[in-house]
């Protein structure tokens, strides 16, 4: 399974709509087996959703995301875990161990 996270300076990007870097994590049996970065050049919701789909992403972890982006990504069958904040490695560990819904990974007010 492929997990994608929008990253900025080793933390989850504040806003998906204009995030520039995507970290793709390969997960097998709740273990990370590899990771690589992808640059996000595209601006439109359709292009971003299509890129995620082409990369085979099943789950997207991101910071804030506006509904025009979220709705289109979800129509591609990609699950979004929005409004996540924190250091990228901590967030991946929390996702793998089921602890991502802990309040410390939530953006303020979310």
């Amino acid at each position: 399974m492929k997990l994608a996270l929008t990253v900025c300076e080793n933390r989850i990007s504040p806003l998906f709509d204009c995030a520039r870097m995507l970290l793709i994590v390969d997960i097998v049996d709740r273990t990370s087996t590899g990771r690589h970065f992808e640059v996000l050049h595209y601006e439109s919701p359709f292009s971003r959703a299509a890129k995620l789909s082409d990369l085979g992403v099943k789950v997207l972890i991101c910071g804030a995301v506006s509904d025009q982006f979220a709705n289109i990504i979800e129509t591609y069958g990609i699950k979004i875990v929005p409004f996540v904040a924190g250091a990228v490695d901590d967030v991946i560990d929390a996702y793998l161990t089921g602890g991502l819904y802990n309040a410390k990974f939530r953006m303020p007010g979310c």
């Binding site: 806003l15 520039r20 439109s44 299509a50 506006s66 509904d67 929005p82 953006m107 303020p108």
Partner: protein, 461 residues
């Protein structure tokens, strides 16, 4: 000493002021952690102060500038303030909130930089009003600033509400189907089917079965009932396009349907009631066809209840820039492109063309340009060859400028005439400042009559 006392404001007063203003204000330290967050900031972002304090500012503010072009970071790096930068933030309901941001350094009484301060104003209302203003120039998928189209837009809600038969006349490609669809969408029949049929595309017998359907056994191979367009459009609207191409025999049949509001499927024995709003369209002038006796007068009067005449694009060239912008924005959405606009030279070429195919032709030209210029601006070399003829030859630039100027002169002259040479009203009509209008009149050498709108008004008094 007395003077110093007069100007000494207690600390808590600053807090009271910050809490009472409608602009959001927050401050950050050198680690970008939020150190204060006023009441308006809570209101605009929807984030309680106690959740915001101590957090990284970009995880609280969440604007489209945070990652790549943070105004506060620029202020901290360059030591200078930035005022009213437009951006948007995204709240916890995934809603974009347009804001105007100003930033400055936060210093103590000794001038030591403590961090930064950011103020932001909710621009949702301004944005909403801007959209409403834009909507004045848009109905459905049709956009126009021209007065002739604006007159149609103004009466369209009443026309839509009325349920009367509408006759739309206009050259091919002027948007007859779009206008019909807009009428349907504004009418109480919206949500019900909108069916279009091109009457000129079928011979009589086929048109009859297409419009009214047939019963099983009506003819060879008619093994089961087939509903016609009138039945499919039940409760909705049907557009009979190119009605001027109907044969004389079919005109009689259609007249009967419009009079009785019933139709009879082929092979059927009972008339079927039709609850369908009929819109008819033609690229020919039906009154002329009546005079030449190729169109029945009684059918003309039956369909000519409300008539809307769509002007050709060459008579409203002032719409071209707006239409191009509209098509670019739509194609960007559909194709996932990021074309930003069209160059001035490209626009000049578009303005110098006569558009026999009207708006459809312009749309095709923009689509052609999208193939060749997928990103950035549409340049003149991306436009079709027939337009680029102007580019050939040594006097190209002069030709384009001349074309652009002649269109400008025409548009300004038309507007002046419409507004009885009142320059202020003309400037308003054209959506430009009066001083811009005066400058253009001077530069373009437009000659005005000695009487202007104001003197005429004064005389009338």
């Amino acid at each position: 000493m007395k003077k110093d006392k007069l100007y000494q404001i207690p600390d808590h007063v600053t807090d009271v002021i910050l809490e009472s203003i409608s602009d959001g204000v927050f401050t950050v330290d050198h680690e970008w952690r939020i150190t204060s967050f006023n009441h308006a900031a809570e209101e605009i972002t929807g984030i309680p102060r106690d959740e915001a304090i101590g957090k990284h500012c970009r995880e609280v503010f969440r604007s489209n500038m945070c990652e790549t072009d943070c105004a506060l970071r620029r202020t901290m790096n360059e030591g200078k303030p930035f005022v009213d930068t437009s951006t948007y933030i995204v709240n916890s309901e995934k809603r974009r909130i347009p804001v105007a941001v100003s930033t400055s350094l936060l210093k103590d009484e000794n001038g030591i930089v403590l961090g930064g301060v950011e103020t932001f104003r909710d621009m949702s209302l301004v944005e909403e009003l801007r959209k409403k203003l834009d909507a004045r120039y848009q109905v459905g998928d049709m956009v126009s600033r021209s007065p002739s189209m604006h007159r149609i837009f103004t009466i369209l809600p009443q026309v839509a509400e009325s349920d009367s038969t509408v006759l739309i006349q206009g050259e091919t490609g002027t948007g007859k189907e779009l206008l019909s669809r807009a009428i349907h969408e504004l009418s109480p029949r919206r949500g019900k089917p909108f069916i279009t049929i091109n009457c000129g595309a079928f011979p009589d017998t086929l048109l009859e079965s297409e419009l009214f359907g047939y019963k099983a056994g009506a003819f060879t191979n008619a093994t089961k009932d087939k509903p016609g367009h009138f039945a499919v459009a039940e409760g909705g609207t049907i557009l009979l396009d190119e009605i001027g191409d109907l044969s004389a025999a079919f005109q009689v049949r259609l007249l009967r349907v419009l009079q009785d509001r019933t139709f009879q499927p082929l092979g059927g024995t009972k008339p079927v009631k039709a609850d369908v709003r009929v819109i008819v369209a033609s690229n020919k002038d039906l009154s002329k066809l009546v005079k030449s006796e190729t169109f029945r007068q009684d059918l003309f009067y039956r369909i000519n209840v409300v008539r809307l005449d769509l002007p050709p694009l060459r008579d409203r060239k002032e719409d071209i820039p707006m239409l191009v912008k509209h098509f670019i924005s739509r194609l960007n959405r559909l194709r996932g492109r990021s074309v930003t606009g069209i160059s001035q030279k490209g626009l000049a070429l578009l303005l110098s063309h006569d558009y026999p195919g009207n708006i459809r032709e312009l749309e095709n030209i923009v689509e052609h340009a999208f193939v060749l210029c997928p990103n950035g601006q549409i340049e003149s070399h991306c436009l079709p060859d027939n337009l680029r003829v102007l580019l050939r030859g040594p006097t190209t630039h002069a030709k384009i400028d001349a074309a652009l100027q002649s269109v400008e002169v025409q548009v300004i002259m038309d507007a002046l005439k419409r507004n009885k040479y009142n320059r202020l009203a003309t400037a308003r009509d054209l959506g430009i400042h009066k001083s811009t209008l005066f400058r253009k009149i001077k530069i373009l050498g437009i000659e005005l009559p000695k009487l202007d709108g104001r003197t005429q008004q004064k005389r009338a008094r």
